[in-house]
Amino acid sequence: MKKNHDELQDLGRFSEPALLILISLADGPKHGYAMTQDIEQVSGQKLGPGTLYGGIARLEARGWIEPLPTDDRRRPYRLTGAGHRVLKHRLESLKAVAKIGAQRLADA
């Protein structure tokens, strides 16, 4: 059975921070500091500045997030249509994996 290609996985070691960034932007635009705060609140992980902007750069390069115009140095970013699709697909994959894992635990 051919499975849909999970594009987020192509980011390799950046796929996890990238997923957290996409989730953080899912409810609206945020700048870097707001993202770190939100990600820490949601996942308990505090992304360092190098990891955060490494992820932002990769997501922006793929057109999954985009910067918004601002006069401030703290530039906000928002999810694009493509980013929304990639995030949705990734979350569905995780949901399926989690369901199988829970099922196996229950059967053991």
Partner: protein, 198 residues
């Protein structure tokens, strides 16, 4: 040495292209979060990673090979058509392939320069062009460059014979190879707050 100085020092380790785009934002972030050992090491690791695996979009090897083959085939066709019937008979020869490679190199460079200018203008205006826009621009300028190259080859030094023009615009024009060496460094040096309007 203040925190800002340390951040600036760490950001200096990043590739200029990356620094030019994100340094101000990272500096603003660190000003809010503070700079501890962990953040410093994270920035250092980020610089190493960015040099090793650049964040810009790159085609996979398979896609690159496909596009290269398609572009080269176009150049062979263009060389055979525009360089006259004398070349048709040897279209599969090494000479024709060398001619096509030379055309391809010139077209790539002619198309690459305006795209780099567009990217630079976009960055300075605070609205960097997206990967999709960059790809479309590259394709458009590629076609224009191909037309310009052929028009130039057809009109350049009318007194020259077809063979002489072929030699001039063939492998003899390989001095173009030197140009890419300068292009990656053609970037504005990082100055703090360079992206902020205020």
């Amino acid at each position: 040495m203040t925190r800002t100085h340390i951040v600036r020092l760490l950001l200096a380790l990043y590739p200029a292209r990356w620094r030019d785009r994100y340094a101000d934002e990272v500096t603003a972030l660190v000003e809010q979060t503070g700079l501890g050992v962990r953040q410093g090491l994270d920035l250092l690791r980020g610089a190493v990673v960015e040099w090793g695996v650049p964040s810009r979009v790159s085609f996979s090897m398979r896609e690159s090979l496909r596009w290269f083959t398609a572009a080269f085939a176009c150049c062979v066709v263009v060389t055979v058509i525009f360089d006259g019937p004398a070349q048709v008979g040897r279209s599969v020869s090494v000479d024709a392939l060398m001619g096509a490679a030379s055309v391809m190199l010139r077209v790539y460079l002619l198309a690459r320069i305006p795209v780099l200018i567009l990217m630079q203008v976009g960055r300075r205006a605070g609205k960097p062009i997206t990967a999709d826009e960059r790809w479309k621009a590259q394709l458009l300028f590629g076609v224009l460059a191909m037309l310009a190259d052929r028009a130039l080859a057809a009109s350049f030094l009318p007194g020259m014979s077809q063979q002489q023009i072929g030699e001039l615009f063939g492998s003899g024009a390989d001095w173009f190879v030197l140009l890419p060496a300068f292009l990656p460094n053609w970037q504005r040096p990082y100055t703090p707050s360079s992206h902020s309007a205020t």
